[in-house]
């Protein structure tokens, strides 16, 4: 598998996950649905991508997790942003802003 798109996707996924948690704590499915909702259904995050990313981000110290009860009283693992996570979100947002602006510029150029 070529590596370039993966890293780009991974960075995007991290940003989306961080953004989805900005409003408050969510469990895995909640994050997945929130991303779907935020991007108008463009990104559907499969569990096979979501969980490795979640665990990695927790190891990075951007999120922390705890076990809680879901809306209909199921045990679920919830994630929330840490301080480092918020900083990362800001940094990633800025970086993404720069990239998208640059890409847009590049596409507009004739």
């Amino acid at each position: 598998m070529p590596s370039q798109p993966t890293t780009l996707l991974q960075g995007t996924l991290d940003l989306l996950i961080l953004k989805s948690l900005a409003a408050g704590e969510l469990h895995g499915l909640g994050i997945s649905r929130r991303i779907q909702q935020m991007t108008g259904g463009t990104f559907v995050v499969k569990p096979g991508s979501l969980f490795p990313a979640l665990h990695r981000m927790e190891e990075e110290g951007w999120t922390s997790s705890f076990w809680g009860d879901s809306e209909n009283n199921r045990r679920a693992k919830y994630y929330r942003l840490t301080k480092a996570g918020r900083r990362q979100l800001e940094a990633e947002s800025r970086r993404w802003g720069r990239i998208s602006w640059a890409i847009a510029q590049a596409l507009e150029a004739s």
Binding site: H27, L29, P47, G48, F51, P52, E60, G61, A84
Partner: protein, 885 residues
Amino acid sequence: MPVLVKARSLLRNLFSTRRVERDLDLEVRSHLQLLIDENLRAGLPPKEAERAARIELGGPEQVKEQVRDKRLGHGLHSLIADCRFGARQLYKNPGFTLTVVLTLALSVGANTAIFSLVNALLLKSLPYPHPERMGTIYTRIAGSSAASDERHNVNGEQWQLLRDNVPALISAVSGVRASGVNLKAGSHVDYVQDGRVSAHYFDVLALQPISGRNFSEEEDRPNGPKAAILSYNLWRNVFGADPGILGQPILLRSEPYTVVGVLPEGATTPLNADVYTPLQPDREGEGRGTNFRCIIRLRDGATGQEADAQINRTWLSRTGRYELAGNPGAKVSYHSVPLQKGQTDSLRPQVLALMLAAGLILLIACANLAGLTLVRMMRRTPEVATRLALGASGWQIQRQFWIENLLLALVGGAFSVGVGFLALKELFLLLPEHLLPVASMPLDARVMVFTLAVSILTSVLFGMLPALVARRVDLRSSMASRTVAGSGNLRLRQALIAGEVAITVMLLGGSGLLIRSLTHLETLPPGFNPNGVVVAKASLDDVRYHDPATFQKLLEQSTAAMRQIPGVQNAAVGLDLPYEFIGNDWVTLDDGKEAGQQGGADWVYVTPGYFETLQMPLLAGRVFTNVDGPNSQHVVVVNQSFARKFYGGTNPVGRYIDKDMLIVGEVADVPISSGLDPVAPLQTEQTMYFPAAQLDRPLLALLHIWHQPDWIVRTAGPVEGLTSAMQRALAAADPNLPASGFYSMKDLLARTLGTQRIEVALLGAMAALALLLSAVGIFALVANMVAQRTREIGIRMALGSSIGQVMVQFGRSGAAASLLGLVLGLALCAGALRVMRSVIYGVGVYDSTTMLFTVLTLAAVTLLAVAVPTLRIASIDPARTLREE
């Protein structure tokens, strides 16, 4: 702190694997449940809801595996898993594992032991501050036939010039070795080693007494005050660590010496003595000859070049240049060398040769292990093929394989430290005392690192070949055939065996030559009857015995008392005995056509009865009697070599030497250890025997510093309690004269041939190890072939081959490899063994007996190693083998 968080995660992933896994499992399950709930809420029927949820999740195990792959420490985790798998594989193959570990333990262990020797002698710094500034002086003689560059002992003139005219150095001299003397403490007499040293000796070593001081220059002057410095052990063991010992007299050599200092615990010197006294070196007496050993230390700020220039300037201006005697026109110069090199130079070739032999053992072990792992690799081809088919990468397979090798190397290495330790202990017991200039050979950090490095290197060497072979595993053919086709590797394995056999032949040839040489030395015609002689040595380095009359009285009384011991036939005293190191002097012939001729000759004093006691045949004239006293004609007995060298073999009786000494007899030659012209460790040489009764005072004082006389008795058979009876006889003449040791002539012979015996023991052990490893290699080759081709054997036998034919067929591969190795090894011997020319005596490098011994030993071992595995063929039942396939 992200770093802390990361570290915590890593630790948790590595050590709380179970909890992390359970958490992950619960999370994935809960996710599935949430998905099902969502679908149910959307109105799907329960069955459909679960199906859709499972499709979206995409397999819980895969999700978990994806999480695991991304975890911190994933690489380490899989490494541990690989190690576990490897360890399990090794555990499941105990035969293979045991063979490899034993091979490694023995071969690496041999290297550990020999390297410890190299380390202690050549690498480890001397235990003194700034050892790199310490040295000794080498004399380089060029431009003559006898070119050399080595440490010489120095004479009194050299010493005084060095002390006074070389300001770049702190210099000191000592006696050549410590002398055994008697120390009287209270009513008790102890035999101790006295190191005679000049002032500043301890300054060169940078040793400061824990109490008291070093010798002053006043104490080092001839006839200066008699002072003593005690070693810590002597102070503690003999003087009970008496703090008031300073300033007290102790009785050494029957004279009072004032204690001026005590050395620190564990302090060593090159002399390794119990007590130190001032040498008081001078140009007279001892200082006339080169009887001092010199050590130097560069002063702060001075350089080696300055020192060398100063040494050359002052020593080249000497009047008496002994280096030029018999060597006219030679160019002589001097240079300082590091003390460690100076002390170990003579041992260096032997030690390095041993290291080389140990390296060869390692090569043999590698060849063996490569063969073994190759077979194992072949056997595992189906497993490897299965793993490749299941998606393992080539790298993963290789990694697994190398991890197993490394595990073997580490286990083998750990055992080899134990083997090395035991070997070293044995080695130290084997060595004669004071052969090595070091007190211990520790297994220190450097040795440990060496052992680890060698183990890993070995595993890389023996793993390389199978790893290369494994890369060529062909998936389809390996999966298809259940049996392993190993025939393609047979040639390779045979080549490995041939190589190791060739090395073994070389080691066998080398040790064979050493054994032949030792046997030659040990069975030299003795020229006397060594059986039934018992020897007592005692130190006469004692001021009372400088007086010829007292000395004479002691000899007469003690030998008379010894003759009274029941079972003793005869008794005498001599300095020295056959097989011993013998002093020498220049002699001038005074009459006939040889008048004025000069030459060196060995020098022995004896009491009447010496020749009878040793049963040395008298060839002409007479031996000494009690008539040869201090006031009668000075007489001398010479040996056959003397007559041959100086008188062309004619009868020497009646001739005069050294002005007024009359030769009265000629006796047979005996083998001695020569200091005159040593070409072999034992040889016969021109020797003069003098009556003890005719020695003068200065000579008595000097001789007994260097040598201890031997009291000898001859018995017809073993006598119970003979040594204590001899001690009582000595005490009857002088109650303060303890014997320093008792020996048989065999002991003295063994002592003189100590180096040769060790060479034989060490190289012999290496050769035996090589032989064992080669035998294991040949055995494994044949045994594997038999095991792999059981079916073929079954078919052959079913088709009418006899058991014998099949056995020959299979044994041939091992025998052929061995034969090839033998031929190769003999060719190598022809070239390599020539370097041994200087250490073998009485036997040529191309010695047919040694070659025959080598060939026969190898043939016997090969036969055994081939025969044992082929015997299994006899138990193969063709019918059953064929059914099993």
